[in-house]
């Protein structure tokens, strides 16, 4: 008589000798994981504070000064919109207090800037308005501002460098919903949702130590519904793919992720999401790994034992990393493929190209504690 599959599986497994668990050791390992996860969540904030504390990065006034205005005016005579867009593409954006500098143009938004998200149309500034929540303002490269209709309850938005869109996550019941907002049209253009399965509810994700952060890459939005369940969702048509890793950074379908499954000291991996394969392994020394706008390089950032920043550009397709001299731990990608960094030790704005050639510019700011570089997440 034929055996049932269930009976056979139980016959195989139920007779296995089971070793005794060491609950104390498992709990200790769990504590390590929790510490590591929290460290990962707040690493961006630590980077900002740390870099500022090192040497006093000061930005703003110099970039707001007459020389800067003159430069903008001169280029403006040729083609103001194009010139400003070029400056934004080359220099990214940052804020100091309520002032936002995009490219070489500075505007005052009237309230302290809590975050800047880069998009193809400009940066979206989140302004903290006290009990009124947040407001969101699009700052275009020419300095024009548009107050966006993004709900004031939204905690954090992520931008898409190649498109005029931002995204954010919200928990609705037992569902994690990613909202996609077109900043040119100032309206929601799509949303994607997945069941959120965290035991004990999801309050901890929003009300506790972590802010859920999506990643936006064209028609795809990436997000996790808890520490182990990750998705890539086409926000226009809803098609979802479960991923075995949490996307940390993604452009053009090339993603970085920290492979921490089963390990306390995870390794950075570069994935081709479409092909579902690893393109490159980056080791575990870096504390950040961010994909370039064209998906061809990864900016890795780390620290020496003495606390000095180490930056490098790692070609996704292979080859030796290109060291970046003088970049700080607070760095971001500009549209044109330059790495823009704040060097805390010399109070300089540093721009590095793909060959590793870096230019430096001395800068000052009225309140260094409030300086933010675009796409740097500050939490806590």
């Amino acid at each position: 008589m034929a055996e049932q599959l269930s009976d056979l599986l139980h016959g195989c497994a139920d007779t296995v000798d089971v070793p005794h668990p060491d609950a104390t050791a498992i709990a200790a390992r769990g504590r390590t994981m929790r510490t590591r996860r929290r460290a990962g969540t707040v690493v961006a904030a630590a980077l900002v504070v740390g870099a500022l504390g090192l040497g006093g990065v000061v930005l703003g006034n110099a970039l707001d000064g007459e020389a800067r205005s003159s430069q903008v005016a001169q280029r403006g005579e040729e083609d103001p919109g194009s010139a400003a867009a070029d400056e934004y593409a080359e220099r990214s954006a940052w804020s100091a207090g309520s002032g936002v500098t995009i490219g070489t143009t500075t505007v005052d938004l009237g309230s302290p800037v809590a975050h800047l998200a880069q998009t193809s149309s400009g940066v979206v500034a989140r302004l903290f308005q006290g009990d009124a929540g947040n407001s969101f303002v699009l700052v275009r490269p020419d300095g024009a501002t548009v107050e966006l209709g993004i709900p004031s309850s939204v905690v954090h938005v992520e931008g898409d460098l190649a498109h005029p869109r931002v995204a954010w996550l919200e928990v609705e019941g037992e569902t994690m919903v990613a909202h996609v907002w077109d900043v040119d049209e100032d309206r929601e253009v799509g949303r994607a949702s997945q069941p959120a399965q965290e035991p004990g509810g999801l309050s901890g994700l929003l009300g506790g130590e972590a802010i859920p952060v999506p990643r936006l890459d064209g028609d795809d939005v990436y997000f996790s519904v808890d520490n182990d369940v990750h998705f890539r969702v086409d926000w226009a048509n809803g098609g979802a793919t479960a991923l075995p890793y949490a996307v940390h950074s993604v452009h053009d379908g090339i993603a970085t992720a920290l492979d921490d499954a089963g390990a306390e000291d995870g390794e950075w991996l570069v994935y081709d999401v479409d092909a579902d394969r690893v393109l490159r392994r980056l080791g575990s020394d870096s504390i950040d790994a961010v994909v370039s706008p064209d998906g061809r390089q990864v900016l890795t950032l780390g620290q020496t034992d003495e606390g000095s920043a180490i930056g490098a550009l790692v070609p996704v397709a292979g080859g030796d990393p290109v060291p970046l001299a003088g970049v700080g731990l607070v760095s971001t990608w500009a549209h044109d493929g330059h790495v823009v960094s704040l060097d805390g030790e010399t109070s300089a704005l540093v721009r590095c190209d793909a060959a590793g050639t870096c230019e430096r510019e001395q800068v000052t700011a009225p309140d260094r504690a409030q300086v933010l570089l675009a796409d740097q997440l500050v939490v806590g």
Partner: protein, 198 residues
Amino acid sequence: MPFTAPRGPTDEEFVELVHAAWPSLYRTAVLLVREHALAEDLVQTALARTYSHWHRIRDTGAAQAYARRAMVNATTSMFRRRSFRSERPTGQMPEPPAREPDPAERLDVLAALAQLPPRQRAVVVLRFYEDLSVAETAQALGISDGTVKSQTSDALRRLRSLLGDAVDLPGDRPTTTTARSGGSSSSRSTATPGGHHG
């Protein structure tokens, strides 16, 4: 009935969870990876991950399900990483169990199971060993109900070709039987592809 803790369960309750969940998780892991040492590490990892969320857990009854999901996901991630490194699970059983009621048959089933892609293997183990419904399996794996059904169908088709007529696989004929769930006994209808409990 699940215990509801107002401020998260205690460490003592975590120890209770470890001892209660360990045997079932370990046996499931053995079915998934065949290697006992690896199975032990995967279960430890899953429970450690559960502990890392312990302060947020309000329902200790759900914690075991969470641990199982973490373990299955860690397993599929592990196989995915191995495939990236051009490594494959071996065809040999590294550590045979202590008691073998029917070694030839047991090896055949385990060997056949090992021939399945990791996700299909997980679907088969969760549905026909853990006795989970389609919806529960989908939730555990973070995939849709439809994917569970199609993966189940594909897996059973593959197993049927590997095991032949020696095994009565769901879908061969309608029947009713008694199966165990995670080591305990419970009555249920035999599953059919895409239709078990769901």
